[in-house]
Symmetry: C2
Subunit: 361 residues, 2 copies
């Protein structure tokens, strides 16, 4: 095979190589059943075990309390933007949102279709280069929940800790789930598209406190009620089998690495290496305010857009792929999710030093 | 590897072996990019080409007119049950449904949330053993569309031809899309979960006439508007990349087999072999009325439930898997979708003869 590249893509993102190799075997012949995983009935005992194991591992790794359901849904994180207010808000009910980027903004837009939405903070006027500290916003007493995006992929910002409000938190963790330890019990609902830190595209994990399953207004389509999926172990209809399977394999890999605490340590090391390279010289400028810096996505600029184009092109030739920043802020972005290897970060840092030397501003 | 079994599963169902082998390679390293298909950005030129090729092949194989959009969506066929009336019916609008099985019934339930639904025919009182002929129902003039399920997986019934009403047809073709030729222009909307005749679970194909994209009522969540996906080439959000890729590979395989007309001929031959075996002796009884018999799913009974249990167990030992009938009608069911090989049908017929000889009623 050709050399494996270092894949800095923001998502779908790099996966552990051993997971890919296992998936390749199982796609053709799963556990010597004589059929491929993707041909098997979702109600077969083999596939039921795949789903059960994935759920069990996620519960163990995230220390999810027993009064939470774990759902494997379709439709992407984008479908959660409307499903959350559709299920959790009723007529006249309110919720508070923190606008820390385009994904928060899209969630706000959909939520407004279902209730009164209070946007308590926005960093839009500064290209979303920071997340708020707690003193910077208030959560009105009549809010059903406080909604936030834990990590903002495009801008490279991340809440260093979660808000301590007495309202339940509802959180989009698509780009940093399983990257650090935290207390699930502060949350009413956590969701994450799998394709950044957990697996391939096609499945979205929803972790929901059980009592919230009863809030859905009458007249909501069956497939859009969380309860439908909770009551049927995510098998009300045919689930996205392959994506769930790969999530399970990634979770096995994560457990072997030492679990979430070990991963958090490695993530901090990887990010520190890269931020140190950025801070070492004015040639590179990080997009995010230092206090809001993400451990997952590192967005940065070079002295000119021309140099950025050249940087990305030469990096790609050197086997460092996917470094182009999002069109909304330009520049470069290195996404270094759980499965991104430390060696790749070291390579990028070396490349950055070389590039600066060869291409003075 | 262990011997490959004959997989009669109703879905997810058997796939062409060469597709599985290709998928195994591409999961690890796609087209020598140095990354696996399931790690690649959905906006990479490589993956955009995967989606474009899958769409192009589907258009070619089904002869889809230019004024139709092809969408690759998530949420399963079950999500179409509500998305169709949500998008196509407005307040006070009506639609007509034919109740030919549990999937039609579920679609009717969801449709009633959005408009006035006229159920013009039902075979529920006879365990859905038939589909109606044209004289058996009327479609009121104020119906926006006539909804039908082309093939009823559980009962093994199939519309031998499509209704000739002047109303547009809306059709669930989850279990027989690409199995026979028909004129797409009679339909307003066609949808199919991939996991029976097209690929793995996790993607649903929607073929929709362009003018219908404008009907969606204001206030519909962005992800639930067909127009959102049509305007963004199914890339408004991260699509179910792997499932779309496999659909594309299955379509390539189908084209190599000679396309839909060739497939229809083979499907007729396979089904004829099996129905002949059933009709040859009173030991086996087909569930469906002969005029409504499906070419895809063949549901049948043995003299007693005990013999059925034994039949299924011994068949499984003989490498004939997935023959258990749906719990709602019991008995046996052989699902012989496009990718199911003729040799497997021959083996089953031989097994049926042997079993009858060894286990007299």
């Amino acid at each position: 095979m050709s050399t494996r590249v270092y894949n800095f893509s923001p998502g779908p993102g790099t996966l552990p190589y051993e997971v890919l190799e296992q998936a390749a075997k199982d796609v053709v012949n799963f556990q010597d059943t004589g059929m491929g995983l993707i041909e098997m009935s979702h109600r077969s005992k083999e596939f039921m075990a795949v789903t059960a194991n994935a759920e069990q591992l996620l519960r163990e790794l995230m220390e999810i309390p027993d009064n939470y359901k774990v759902l494997f849904l379709q439709g992407g994180a984008s479908s959660q933007f409307f499903m959350i207010p559709m299920n959790l808000l009723g007529a006249g009910k309110k919720a508070t949102y923190l606008n820390t980027g385009v994904w928060a903004k899209k969630a706000i837009k959909e939520a407004k279709l279902f209730g009164e939405i209070n946007v308590a903070y926005s960093s839009e006027d500064r290209k979303f280069d920071r997340v708020p500290t707690e003193g910077e916003y208030t959560v009105p007493a009549d809010s059903e929940y406080l909604y936030l995006v834990s990590n903002n992929t495009i801008y490279g910002t991340q809440f260093p800790t979660f808000p301590t409000t007495d309202k339940m938190l509802v959180c989009d963790m698509s780009s940093d789930i399983l990257s650090r330890k935290f207390d699930v019990s502060k949350f009413g609902l956590i969701f994450a598209g799998a394709q950044k830190n957990m697996g391939p595209a096609g499945v979205t994990v929803v972790i929901i406190r059980e009592d919230l399953l009863e809030r859905t207004p009458a007249g909501t389509p069956t497939m859009l009620c969380y309860k439908t999926h909770a009551d049927n172990g995510s098998m009300f209809n045919t689930p996205p089998c392959f994506s769930i399977y790969v999530v399970g394999e990634v979770l096995k890999w994560l457990k072997k690495q030492g679990g979430v605490a070990a991963m958090e340590k490695i993530n901090k090391e990887k990010a520190a290496l890269l931020y140190a390279a950025i801070d070492a010289t004015p040639y590179y400028r990080g997009h995010a305010e230092p206090a809001s810096r993400s451990l997952m996505n590192i967005s940065f600029n070079l002295p000119t857009p021309e140099l950025e184009v050249k940087f990305i092109a030469e990096a790609t030739k050197a086997g460092l792929n996917g470094l182009k920043g999002h069109r909304s802020i330009g520049g470069c972005r290195a996404s270094i999710y759980n499965a991104f290897p430390r060696e790749g970060v070291v390579k990028l840092v070396e490349f950055m030093r070389e590039f600066e030397k060869n291409n003075p501003a």
